[in-house]
């Protein structure tokens, strides 16, 4: 009797754990099945080469390139802010700051990640953009630059927190060895600690990239929602996520091509994120072999 109860409880708990796998299957399954009808209308070739994305217009074009362009542009700007600042902050916290000060600074930095993204959107649109317009008077109210910069600040804690954990888990005898042969703190940090923690730092970067690719509200609010094939960060543009928001705000009839197009956009986003994760995994493997 008791054994039966134990087995029952174990299987219930197992189902709970397995539910996370069902979530993934659900996401992939829904995105794929809802995207298939789209590709019966639009050829894959047209999808990846057409320079326009106007699925809701009379004269519809279905080219993902403008959305990809906007997504990459905002992501690159965000990473240019977040990776250097996040890594330097992590090295500083792990190698220079006393532990009790770190215990205060790290949670404060993590507050940045707790701020709701719609609040960051407000900040980008009504604080950063007017500020940037003083530098670039030609810039419009919606632009990629301010969205990217604000997103970068938002991502700093994701990168710094995980990198700092990785750096701190480097055994201290490595540091002591480095100090013993006369290396300074900065030499130890860059030549011993960071290389040793590199696989952890890589996963921090990958998480940061995933965040930036999938970030929605900041770009939907501050970058405008006009698919625009441009590399000029002063112009408005739309990311994949912003397009999904734009369509969802309207009345989309279930089964229409507009409805399907958001699933295609979502699937492209998921594939993109997946590619970066696999790349990160490969990079980590490569560096672990070296040790």
């Amino acid at each position: 009797m008791r054994r039966l109860k134990e087995a029952l409880i174990e299987s219930i708990l197992f189902l709970a754990a397995a539910s996370s796998v069902f979530v993934t299957l659900g996401i992939v399954g829904i995105l794929v099945t809802e995207s298939i009808p789209f590709f019966e209308h639009v050829s894959f070739w047209q999808f990846i080469t057409d320079p326009e994305w106007t699925p809701l217009f009379e004269n519809a074009h279905y080219g993902i390139l403008p959305l990809l362009c906007g997504t990459f542009l905002t992501t690159i700007i965000a990473l240019l802010v977040a990776i250097p600042l996040g890594t330097v902050a992590a090295a500083f916290l792990s190698e220079y700051v006393r532990p009790n000060v770190r215990e205060i600074l790290k949670p404060v930095l993590e507050m940045l990640a707790a701020v709701p993204t719609v609040v960051y959107g407000y900040f980008a649109l009504l604080f950063v953009t007017p500020l940037l317009q003083k530098v670039f008077p030609s810039m419009g109210g919606f632009n990629v630059l301010s969205a990217g910069l604000v997103m970068g600040v938002m991502i700093i804690p994701y990168i710094s927190s995980l990198s700092e954990d990785a750096m701190r888990s480097v055994p201290s005898h490595l540091r002591e060895a480095s100090f013993a042969v006369g290396a300074s703190r900065i030499q130890t940090a860059f030549r011993v600690v960071i290389p040793a923690a590199f696989s952890g730092i890589t996963s921090a970067y990958i998480l940061g990239i995933s965040r930036a690719l999938g970030e929605t509200m900041v770009v939907a609010i501050a970058a405008g929602m006009q698919p625009n094939l441009t590399l000029n960060p002063l112009e408005p543009s739309a990311t994949i996520t912003a397009f999904i928001v734009q369509v969802s705000l309207g009345d989309l009839p279930h089964g229409s091509i507009g409805y399907q197009s958001i699933y295609v956009a979502g699937l492209s986003l998921l594939c993109l994120t997946l590619c970066f994760n696999i790349f990160g995994l490969w990079l980590r493997k490569k560096f672990q072999e070296k040790e």
Binding site: Y122, F123, F127
Partner: protein
């Protein structure tokens, strides 16, 4: 051989580099913190004068001065309740399984890998999944229930990970002592492991709810209304059984969506309302996070095995 002079200048140069890097680190931290401060101050200057009692008890309106966030905060509250009911039991159970039961085989490593990957999946794809699965396949409609389930699944990995950390920090002697008294595995978990790790689990729950309360994109995708001037059905009935769950199927709006709606209008008066909503949201998330951090450090200090 290096002369003493060279050595000294060498040391000096390295010390200078060291100092420069410390300065750069400090600047990087300060840059992030000053931005956070600028964000808070900017919001507060614009938004705080707008916050009064009427702001919380009025429905949204065409007139910015009259508009309030009643339907938004009630919606946020109802959805948080649903999210908590969905995510806490599932997350804690999954955490317990992975930490106490899972054997080292491909099934458990698949689950673990999957949880790590879920953290990187964009939140808006959860919204798309919910639109396809909950709204159209399971016909739950664009309701509070759909929204709660969506956010519940979204924050599930946070609860699983923090539950596991909390359980892992309990030393084995506790388990062994319990087994020695003849307790079964489940009894050990139920009466020892779970109570002792409740502090850590609570931290995870608070953090996940503070994440869910600010989440906007997946709710826009499943069709949250942006203008809603009524409240969900009251959960209290006049006749037996005095409780109903009709409110679960009602349409909703939440505070971040209300803020987004006001933000996307051209009139500056609505932007003031957006700032005020932003302040309410920010205070809630920061208080919740601060509470979680405080709780974590308190439990860390108190626990001495």
């Amino acid at each position: 051989m290096e002369s003493r002079q060279d050595l000294l200048s060498n040391i000096k140069r390295r010390q200078m580099w060291d100092f420069c890097f410390a300065l750069a680190g400090l600047m990087a931290l300060m840059f992030a913190l000053v931005t956070l401060l600028a964000l808070i101050v900017d919001l507060a200057i614009t938004g705080v004068p707008r916050i009064n009692f009427d702001f919380f008890t009025n429905f949204p309106s065409r007139f910015p001065q009259k508009a309030g966030i009643l339907s938004a905060w009630v919606g946020s509250f109802c959805i948080m309740l649903t999210t908590a009911f969905c995510a806490i039991p599932l997350g804690v159970a999954a955490g317990v399984y992975l930490e106490e039961y899972a054997k080292k085989n491909w099934v458990s490593s698949l689950i673990e890998l999957n949880i790590v990957n879920l953290a990187g999946i964009p939140s808006i794809t959860y919204g798309l999944m919910a639109l396809g699965l909950f709204v159209y396949k399971l016909k739950l409609g664009q309701s509070i229930l759909t929204a709660g389930l969506t956010l519940g699944l979204l924050v599930l990995p946070i609860i699983i990970v923090t539950t596991r950390e909390a359980i892992r920090s309990i030393p084995n002697i506790i388990r062994e002592a319990s087994y020695a008294m003849g307790a079964s595995k489940w009894q050990t978990i139920r009466y020892h492991i779970l109570p002792y790790s409740s502090g850590g689990i609570l931290t995870g729950v608070i953090i996940s709810l503070s994440r869910a309360i600010g989440e906007t994109a997946p709710l826009i995708t499943i069709g949250a209304l942006t203008f809603i001037a009524f409240l969900p059905t009251s959960p209290i009935d006049t006749h037996l059984p005095y409780l109903n769950f009709k409110w679960l199927m009602d349409p909703f709006t939440v505070m971040p969506i209300q803020m987004f709606n006001w933000l996307s209008r051209p009139q500056a008066e609505f932007h003031v309302n957006a700032a005020a909503t932003g302040i309410v949201l920010l205070v809630m998330t920061l208080v919740m996070n601060g509470g979680a951090i405080w709780l974590r450090s308190r439990f860390r200090k108190k626990m001495k095995w």
